[in-house]
Subunit: 319 residues, 4 copies
């Protein structure tokens, strides 16, 4: 393989640049050229790319976001767009593709693979909702950002005897919400995977209030409910004021944590190695502290579930 | 004076604890006892206080929020409540009061002074809207928190060709918004003090877009407009997507910056010294890098304005 | 078991408080009393302890260091001291012990177990040199602190065309140094596990210099060499200035990362559960993303080694 | 003036990039070309520069260090070197120069002015030892970095009953040390401006120890003494262990604080405006919250002193 392509797609997250840097350096060391496509699949359709060498990716390891930029691409969801993309890659002499992104992006990668373009995916999404890998790039950084924000809000909560309802990302997964709740010592978490009982939450807050703990933090995953609904239902049942914070896009960016830099570096190196070994249609993954690659079919066939032990831990510690 | 009282009132901010620590240590060194009233003026009305010595305030210098806690107090806005408060203080042998807080809290301090209780105020509010002092406690920390958040969101904005509209605190003052806009390199700021022209902002963003700068940040002070209104009016005039983030209570807390620790320490020391010199009805202040105390009447008679040079700087640098 | 004891021993690290909090809350929920011994094993010998309930450990989750404090204890290394300790615990009605710390501390735990006191250990040391667990409490936070410090020093290195030699902790293990080198994009790492070839390092730096990269970072584990020796040998072989930074105790403290809060919370909960299940002489551990407990004999019989893949990753990415 | 030059010289500090960005944008808006000389005065001697427009300085506001890089330049200290530099500037059509740096750099700026090249200086040094300006660029960021590091070390100090001796920068000025001591609640500061009495410090630590405060932090400015000397003299007089940390180059870099971004932005704008108004031989400065420009002769004729009130504050609060 003389030339590979790489792109970042979907919502950005911390560590995408580290994965890009690692893939480029690994490929260059093996004498392989790397085309970096801009704006995700749009870059393939518009032949918008740059040839990347080791110096291009110098100084990006510690930067959030993605220097290749990202975008949604409706055109690549159509047969016509996919054929155009495949034909562009052939024309450019690209012999293999690496796609960095979440669920939707990996679907695009799967399409390329099915059309005959050797393609490997790298899971990157702060939601940690991709089956087959214990962690995706960006999760650890997002968790630290969220937890630091909650620590900060706790200052205000404890100064005022208030309940704070904090909404975090996670449309289909409560991983961020539940983990951040444990890490920040929040009093409750509302997540999509577990039916919530506002009566029980309110009772618990009331009990705590009577025992002298007059402030509390409730974390809500956007897929579990929304902060405004929770507040409306909760505020009349507890004896103190409530406030809402929606963390929003603050959760995506920022300097990647060490874990994300390492994970992304490993994923980038292994994705290139997989392509050069002639593999395709796979996603690199971390399972039980081992790096491996698993078929896209397996990734798409299952839904990732929240570890039971996190639920127990949350239950035990929020007392 | 053998005994003074101290309280924190209104919205909490970083540095309140540093001011408390400084006041307690200064007073104790001079042999004066200090009663710390809990929950602002509520603590006076309910005689809820603790006698503070130097060890009580150990380890709080670097903590956000206020260990004395804060609360609104409707009762103290009535004549009856004020008389009860005054009488409670007399009964407890309190010979002078220090009130740490924003506009409303300083009004309460003024009332105590007028009733004959020697009282000195310490300006503490992230909005920096108190006349007579260049800076209030909490402003510098809030600015750093806001600016760091915008830096983080910029990662995402630049990864996606998006305009981000970020709403920050400031009901009557655009100081936070304008300063954070300069410090983060934002493309525009909407503040209460200056009529905004969305057409001009949109034109500017469009020009920049055509020149290749396809992402932007617009900071909105909550008193200037709100992020949702700005987005609704802006999104059809510019060529790219918009997103909203409301920073909310994240802005209040967190570890105080060095500037806030110093300012709060000076204010705390000077407030005690002023009381012991027999002064009352004044607020400690920082003017042109000098510490002084100014009468409450002067504080309440004027409205603080945004320095003209900040407006010029914002104009010059956003190009 | 009606009453258990807990202590932190050896060098402090971020997450010790989180483990303490989790153990206390888990035990209290099961109706078990918890004595927290102060200053490590000294607290047992001097019967210096407090009975901890859930409220005592409120607000410590996010704090570095250890509220139980830690100390070395020469007396507990003698037979006489150990007998006194055992007898004190019996006298106090302590039916089980949890020891949080590094190698030396776990040895003390093993002694208690051998004397007949049910004892479970929790691995906590920033060096990550304890066999049997993939990660110890404190490692992730230390890595993030170190890497952030290197990022900061890189600003200066790249402003001045300088080589910076940065010494980090790790007397017997290069884990911190190697991992931080990968995470910060350092050009070289000197660690105890791998013989280093300064000639090769210098040649590499020279080559890079000639290719235009005129600054570099070399990370040294204190057990691998020391920064001053490396500098003396290196400075005459490369074409540019060198500077040294010894990170020192900065590496221990600070707000624990999310990973450390979770790891510590799991370890604390599982250590209590193990004791209540009648187990003893074991250390809780994380292996391949599973939590388990392994006998102290196994922990002490092996030496932890650096994963080979980290060495490869460092080699590939430093180009 | 059609073209100006700009350079950064001496030790780097946070905010240099912000000053550069502001100067470039201000000049470009007025139609003036800007040559950025690389590596300080070396860039003038070697005609190593780039023509900077607004886009070149995009995205550098929040970055530490200096993208123009800095270096010492022995040649420019000789008459011959100065004549060559002046002649190079003339040849390149440079009609005015802006020099960003500390004492030595401003001396170089003064030389250019005396030779007839209109030159304005911008004070940038973390030591805050430049007479005539209340604050130099980089001071506020360095103080926050130092204070955060001390907060972190305090975790360890309080976990172990230890005295930590922390050496910070400041060859001729104790400003950093004294201010960081106040901001971190350190127990003592050793600075060049005030003769220190180790006996008194030891007595104070002993008293505190006996009163139950068994850990302490002593900050040493490198110009006041050095951490090893202080430790040697102190360790036998107090009842507990001592440890040393030398913060080193960690103090220079990092993301600039909001204050430094604003100060640097103002200085950059005003330096350009001063040149365009035909002024020369001056340094822009902040005095009593007002921006102005003062002659180099005045800057060099005085020595900056530590404000007396900082000494009093340190004395009062360390109790």
């Amino acid at each position: 393989m003389e030339r590979i392509g790489i792109l970042t797609s979907g919502g950005d997250c911390a560590g995408m640049n580290a994965a890009l840097r690692s893939a480029v350096r690994t490929a260059r060391k093996k004498g392989v050229e790397v085309y970096g496509f801009k704006h995700g699949f749009v870059g393939i359709l518009e032949k918008d790319f740059i040839s990347l060498d080791s110096r291009h990716v110098s100084g990006i390891l510690q930067r959030g976001g993605t220097v290749l930029q990202s975008a949604r691409c409706e055109e690549f969801k159509t047969n016509k767009g996919q054929e155009k993309g495949f034909s562009n890659l052939k024309e450019l002499g690209v012999g293999g593709m690496i796609v960095i992104g979440g669920d939707g992006s990996l679907n695009g990668a799967f399409v390329l693979h099915q059309m005959g373009m050797p393609t490997v995916g790298i899971p990157a999404t702060i939601d940690n909702d991709i089956y087959g890998t214990d962690m995706s790039i960006g999760v650890d950084t997002a968790l630290n950002t969220i937890t630091h924000a909650i620590d900060t809000i706790r200052d205000t909560a404890s100064s005022h005897d208030r309940a704070f309802i904090i909404e975090v990302m996670g449309r289909h997964s409560g991983y961020l919400a539940l983990t951040a709740a444990i890490a920040s010592g929040a009093e409750a978490a509302v997540i999509p995977e577990v039916p919530y009982d506002l009566g029980a939450i309110a009772d618990n807050l009331l009990q705590r209030y009577e025992a002298g703990k007059t402030n509390s933090i409730i974390i809500v995953a956007e897929g579990g409910s929304d902060a405004y609904t929770i507040e409306r239902k909760l505020k009349h049942r507890i004896g103190y004021e409530t406030r809402i914070t929606v963390l929003g896009h603050l959760q995506r960016g920022g300097e990647p944590s060490v874990f994300d830099r390492l994970l992304a570096s490993e994923f980038g190196m292994r994705a290139v190695e997989a392509l050069l070994e002639g593999r395709s249609g796979e996603m690199v993954a971390l399972q039980s502290n081992e790096y491996l690659a698993i078929p896209f079919e397996e990734v798409f066939a299952h839904k990732k579930v929240i570890p039971q032990r996190l639920l127990e831990l949350a239950e035990t510690l929020s007392s």
